[in-house]
């Protein structure tokens, strides 16, 4: 059952061979046994999960089930879930029980999924290792000395350790893809605007996008179909005809043109990652694809552009945490200004404060043109690079991350080194393109390697097709960490 796909679980639920209560109970048991080691969940509420499972079973008995009815999933703790603690990995929201559901949560609940709990994450999704969480770091199930990646590290570790069949994540600069890569699972960040941001606690609104994390491309297609859709409460939600992103899963890869950006295979890429990715690309050639070299010359510059734009948006978005309407308030203060300043000083962690300060600085008088405007112009050049590259290919492939999972504590002292671990993922968010990561082998230390697939706007079905065909020919996505 640990490796059963959503399709297999749905078939067993539908045939009456399995109840949601039993299935949910099984995963709750695993969480109870393994979460003390991994710290993948911030909140688990067995009674609430089992009540949802019973409701799902009743819905099925009444003949009103969808294929996802009764399937338990875990929520990244950035998604507001009515009646559940929703912390965003921060002390400042450590007492926030959400009064409403995010759009994504509404949609998946309407399909009948069951909540398994809220997963750990970097505070406000600002981090690449899950070490900035107020709730402590998550351990990588493949090697507990290693980070799971971030910011959706809890979701990635939960799926990798089979504590949940699937989970939700969000990706602002790589936060679905990088932890998926480091934990050996599959994850997709859709085209910007495909999944509603309503009720997804904002980090950088022009980059944030929610998406599913699961064991396989097929599972991702199932979940993405349920998550995506127009929502008028998100002003950047795209009003498009609904489409089935799983429609092309089985299509052969014959004639597929894969673009290999020369900058993704240059200096800075670890040899063990390069080797696994090369083998994966050779496998795609065997499946009928051809490869062509492309160039994304602004790859390196996407990092500084991102570290201007994302903090600028964050400094504005996080202004709402002031100790007045919700969340933590400092216990002692002399006046209103003192209350704001102490509440935020005590409520935010070091990385979040750093980014708020960067954002405040680049938007302040006299610096706007040199930083914010320059970064927005670079963003245009980065998007243009992708547009040119896609004239020669159907999808772009490369490593998701320059290295396999690094050790806990290894990069916390040097923010710049930490930021550079997202060098292959950031540009995709700046351009607003869809990107995914699937497991494609292991590095020297036995830690997973991720293959990144980037598509053109709204090419999710094609990317999932490529990933699915690859997963039919390989079994990296079915490997289980030892000791779980």
């Amino acid at each position: 059952m640990l490796n059963a796909s959503l399709k297999e679980l749905a078939a067993r639920l539908s045939a009456g061979k399995l109840s949601s209560v039993d299935l949910t109970g099984e995963f709750l048991k695993r969480i109870k046994a393994l979460n003390p080691r991994l710290n993948a969940f911030i909140t688990v509420d067995e009674a609430a999960s089992l009540a949802e499972a019973r409701a799902a079973d009743a819905l099925r008995a009444a003949g009103r089930a969808t294929p996802l009815t009764g399937i338990p999933i875990a929520w990244k703790d950035i998604f507001c879930t009515r009646g559940w603690l929703t912390t965003c990995g921060s002390k400042i929201l450590s007492n926030f029980v959400s009064p409403y559901d995010a759009h994504v949560v509404e949609r998946l609940k309407a399909a009948g999924t069951v909540s398994l709990g809220k997963t750990n994450m970097d505070e406000f999704a600002m981090g690449s290792s899950n070490e900035t969480s107020f709730y402590g770091p998550v351990k990588n199930p493949w090697d507990e000395r290693a980070v799971p990646g971030g910011s959706s590290g809890g979701s990635a570790a939960a799926v990798a350790a089979r504590l949940a069949p699937a989970a939700t994540g969000t990706d602002t600069g790589g936060s679905i893809r990088q932890p998926a890569a480091l934990c050996g699972i599959s994850g997709i960040k859709p085209t910007y605007g495909v999944v509603s941001r309503y009720g997804m606690i904002a980090f950088a609104s022009s980059l944030d996008q929610g998406g599913p994390m699961a064991k396989s491309a097929e599972d991702l297609a199932w979940l993405l179909n349920a998550m995506a859709g127009f929502d008028q409460r998100d002003s950047t939600s795209l009003n498009r005809e609904p489409e089935d992103d799983g429609r092309d899963l089985e299509r052969p890869l014959t004639g597929l043109r894969i673009g290999l950006p020369r900058e993704y295979f240059a200096e800075g890429l670890a040899a063990d990652v390069a080797k696994a990715v090369d083998v994966a690309i050779a496998e795609c050639r065997k499946l009928g694809a051809t490869t062509v070299e492309v160039s994304l010359p602004k790859t390196r510059l996407s990092v500084p552009a991102y570290y201007v734009l994302a903090p600028a948006e964050a400094s504005s978005n996080l202004a709402r945490f002031d100790g007045v309407r919700y969340g933590y308030r400092a216990p002692r203060y002399s006046d209103l200004m003192d209350m704001y300043r102490k509440t935020r000083a005590e409520g935010f962690g070091a990385e979040v404060k750093r980014r708020i300060l960067i954002g405040t600085y680049v938007l302040s008088h006299g610096y706007y043109d040199a930083y914010y405007l320059q970064a927005q112009k670079l963003r245009r050049l980065i998007a243009d690079d992708f547009r040119k590259a896609f004239e020669a290919c159907d999808v772009i492939m490369g490593p998701t991350s320059p290295t396999t999972a690094f050790n806990l504590g290894e990069r916390t002292a040097d923010p710049v080194q930490m930021y550079l671990s997202d060098i292959y993922t950031i540009a995709v968010n700046l351009a607003g393109l869809p990107g995914m990561s699937i497991p494609c082998g292991f590095g020297d230390k036995g830690r997973p390697v991720g293959l990144q697939i980037v598509g053109n706007y709204f090419a999710e079905a094609k990317m999932l097709n490529v990933a699915h065909r690859y997963q039919k020919a390989t079994d990296w996505h079915l490997r289980l960490p030892p000791n779980i």
Binding site: L238, V308, S315, A319, V324, Y326, K353, R354, T360, A383
Partner: protein
Amino acid sequence: MALSLEDVHRIAYLARIAVQDAEARQVLGQLQGIFGLIEEMQAVDTAGIAPMAHAQDVTQRLREDRVAETDQHPLFQSVAPQVEAGLYLVPKVIE
């Protein structure tokens, strides 16, 4: 560019985050490193390039002028640190 300790205090004040001197000095070192990375952007000639604010060319939608929300005052205030008679309480701002 050289970020000073005074800059850190100024932006921390603008951002409404209290910082002590020792913390400010530590933050200064880290921000200098980060701005070293950010400065790499200045090497690119972007004359004539239109800034890109967003991935999609979307414009603000207008909605029909009708009541869409119900009053959820008590629910939303149930998560506030301090309320009284339907009002959010903060320290006195007017003498």
